[in-house]
Amino acid sequence: MSERRFTTKWPLVLATLLFGVRADAQAPMSEPQVKAMFVYNFLKFVEWPADAAVGAKDPFVVVIIGEGATADATEQFLESKTIGERPLVVRRGHWDQSLAGVRAAFVVETDPKKLRRILDGAAAAGVLTIGEGEGFATHGGVIGLLVEDRKVRFDVDTSAAQAARLRVSSKLLALTHAVRSSVDRSGSQQ
């Protein structure tokens, strides 16, 4: 049932992004490093609701839930970065922890129930969720990173973004191949 829901009711935005932006003179970045950079860049194209429980000058909090090479690379990449004038704060989190005060979460969770819990909590708290694999976006995550032909690409589920009251920049959407909007977002909760 959930399988059907994921494939029929969730809008899928599939974007293919060329991997390996350019032939860098230095050592090419590894796949997790590229993904970490993407995570950071996504933050620049998303607007959060103004009534979120975060002050304008407060640190920009990113939580990493779960383990893996990408999670580690992301934690490392975001360290000491800023968003505008706001310093980035990276934390390790747990699936049942509250996401209050958090702006974005990088999620690595294979258990559907746990993932369900994390994503529902994130939507309620207005948190941008980023995950890996084709299924992440179809299961209610906002942005899903995936690799195709040795290139990193991403999907954006605009319905999920709306549910979390996030506004994803059209410029980011322009880099995806197609945008499909779900007919009924509430149906996914039944």
């Binding site: 992004l17 060329l18 390996g20 350019r22 194209f45 968003i83 410029k171 322009a174």
Partner: protein
């Protein structure tokens, strides 16, 4: 170029120049503005392209970047565009035409505006941070196209404006040129018609043209005034001139009357002087033929030469006055020039002998035998020239040459070795009463009329007279006169001896009708001396009675006689002869040496005439010619 055309040209030139300058300035401003606007436009496009490509740049999506850049092709003129990363390295590029060599800098450049390219470079910002740069290069084809369109529009505007200006100028030039043209027309009319009552209009304009018209009118008014005064003046002058003219006319008439009286006086003097002279010369001649002592002969000879000289002077003066009065006319007859010259030169023999100078004459052999001309007047010319030469020559010779010039011109020259004439007097020497200088007259005597008469006669004959002279060496007078030739066949007949010797005539019965006792005595003495029988009467009527009473061979008829004059008597004789068929020779006898007189005598019926005073030879010659009349039926001329 008319004023109208000039004003029109001026208006057109100034406004045309203004329109052109305005259009030119507008064109330049527009061109610069277009560059600025293009630059701004390119900036906007660059901003849009940058905003659109910020995500693609961030995520290194070259394909998406290329697509975004390719969208710039919609803007005409953009030839190239590129995206640069934040560090300035080239990220993505676009060229409008594939494979063109449009240069794209490999590192982010700065914006430039060149003659044919305008480039802009804008930073791409994301959340206030520079994420990269966008570069756009545009050619100026769009500007050129717009400039051409603007140029065309401006030309159309200029042409349209000029047309409107022309129409306006046509109307406006009238403000200036119309009054000037009107003034010119009026001025022309005034000049043509001299109608000074005309006035130019439009004097109340209040500008300079109005003042000009006003002044012109003032001038014309003055001229009108002047003219009126002049007319008054003119009328007065005319009256004066008329008065003067009538005075002059009457003066002229008086002068003419006086002149006529003078001429008549001279004619009378001619007669009155010649008659006693005839007596003096004739009687002296007769006295010399009588038995006188040597002393008496000497006195008589002085009387004779003095009388001759006096006669010459009187003749000169009379001839001169006749020439002056235009009353002298020529009497052309056939004559032998060579014989005439011979005769004339014979006169000078004694004078040359007295002065101990040689007189030589040479007549060219090719002279025509007979010429038609006035031998008497020619003789007068020769006598005057030769006489003049002898008078002024103390030693040496006087040479007369007669030659034939080209055609029928006879060239007579008289050369002497006399005192000569200074060159400056050559022209005046032929004037009346002129000798080389006044002292000449005192030294050499004479009336000074000789050369004048010679000159006047030469001119009368259609000839030319001139002098060549070197003072102290001598003079040469030249006369060139055209003569008519007598055809050769007639020459044969007329060359017969005209005057037979007097002694061969024999005794004639002569009726002498002459009222003057001296002349009658002279003539009858001369006639009787050669054996003629003379009957003397003193009136024309007595002559007719004598002719009725007895036979005569010849009548010598004086023209001026009391009771019945010679002309009347001659006419009556001829009338009575018409019944009898006889013809008696009549010679008119007169002191009137005028050609018209001679014609009157011949018309009346005289066969010849003799001018008093006459020499015995002349008397005998004319009688001899009358004698031959009856035999040959040829009417000879005698003078």
């Amino acid at each position: 170029m008319s004023v109208r055309a000039k004003v029109l040209t001026m208006l057109m030139a100034t406004s045309g120049a203004a329109v052109m300058l305005a259009s030119g300035a507008s064109f330049v401003y527009d061109s610069r503005n277009m560059l600025r606007v293009m630059s701004e436009d390119l900036g906007s496009f660059a901003d849009i392209a940058g905003a659109n490509s910020v995500a693609a740049m961030t995520f290194g999506d070259v394909a998406a970047s290329n697509e975004i850049l390719a969208a710039l092709a919609l803007k005409p003129g953009i030839v190239a565009a590129a995206l640069y990363e934040k560090n300035g390295d080239l990220f993505a590029s676009f060229r409008r035409s594939k494979g063109s060599a449009e240069p794209i800098p490999s590192h982010v450049p700065v914006a430039t505006t060149g003659p044919d390219r305008t480039t802009v470079v804008r930073p791409i910002k994301l959340n206030g941070e520079v994420a990269g740069f966008v570069y756009i290069s545009s050619d100026h084809s769009e500007i050129v196209r717009r400039q051409i369109k603007t140029g065309q529009l401006l030309v159309a505007i200029i042409l349209g404006t000029m047309f409107v200006l022309y129409l306006l100028s046509l109307t406006l030039q009238g403000i200036i040129s119309a009054p000037i043209l009107a003034l010119a027309t009026t001025a022309h009319e005034v000049a043509e018609t001299k109608n000074y009552s005309l006035r130019a209009t439009d004097a109340e304009r209040g500008d300079e043209i109005g003042a000009l018209v006003h002044n012109f009118n003032g001038m014309v008014a003055q001229m009108q005034d002047h003219e009126a005064r002049l007319l008054g003046h003119g009328a007065e002058l005319e009256r004066e001139v008329t008065a003067r003219t009538s005075e002059l006319v009457s003066a002229k008439e008086k002068a003419e009357v006086a002149n006529k009286a003078k001429s008549e006086f001279l004619a009378n003097m001619s007669h009155e002087i010649r008659t006693p002279m005839n007596g003096i010369i004739g009687m002296t001649g007769l006295a010399l033929q009588t038995d006188v002592t040597a002393e008496q002969r000497g006195y008589l000879e002085i009387v004779e030469s003095s009388a001759d000289l006096l006669l010459t002077i009187i003749n000169d003066i009379l001839d001169f006055s006749k020439i002056e009065a235009g009353k002298l006319s020529l009497d052309p007859v056939e004559f032998n020039l060579a014989a005439s010259i011979e005769d004339t030169m014979r006169l000078f023999g004694s004078r040359a002998e007295q002065k101990k100078i040689a007189i030589i004459h040479s007549v060219a052999a090719d002279l025509p035998a007979l010429l038609i001309g006035d031998p008497g007047r020619l003789r007068q010319i020769v006598v005057n020239l030769v006489g003049n030469a002898i008078k002024f020559t103390e030693r040496g010779q006087v040479i007369l040459r007669v030659a034939r010039d080209t055609g029928d011109v006879i060239h007579i020259s008289v050369t002497d070795t006399g005192i000569g004439i200074p060159a400056e007097k050559h022209a005046a020497i032929f004037d009346s009463f002129s000798q080389a200088d006044a002292s000449t007259t005192r030294k050499f005597g004479g009336t000074g009329l000789g050369l004048t008469i010679a000159s006047q006669l030469t001119r009368l004959m259609g000839g030319r007279i001139w002098v060549e002279s070197v003072p102290g060496i001598g003079s040469a007078f030249h006369v060139a006169i055209p003569f008519q030739l007598v055809p050769v066949e007639e020459v044969e007949i007329l060359q017969m001896p005209v005057a037979p010797q007097a002694q061969n005539i024999g005794s004639l019965r002569v009726l002498l009708a002459e009222d003057n006792a001296v002349n009658a005595l002279l003539a009858s003495t001369l006639l009787r001396k050669v054996g003629h029988q003379v009957t003397h009467v003193v009136t024309g009527r007595q002559a007719l009675d004598a002719l009725d009473a007895q036979e005569f061979d010849l009548v010598l008829m004086d023209v001026q006689m009391p009771d019945m004059d010679g002309l009347e008597a001659t006419a009556q004789i001829r009338r009575s002869e018409a019944r009898t068929g006889r013809h008696i020779a009549i010679v008119a006898f007169t002191a009137h040496a005028m050609a018209e007189d001679r014609k009157r005598f011949l018309d009346a019926g005289a066969d010849g005439y003799l001018t008093k005073p006459f020499s015995p030879d002349q008397l005998h010659a004319v009688i001899a010619s009358m004698r031959s009349l009856g035999e040959k039926q040829v009417l000879p001329k005698a003078s």
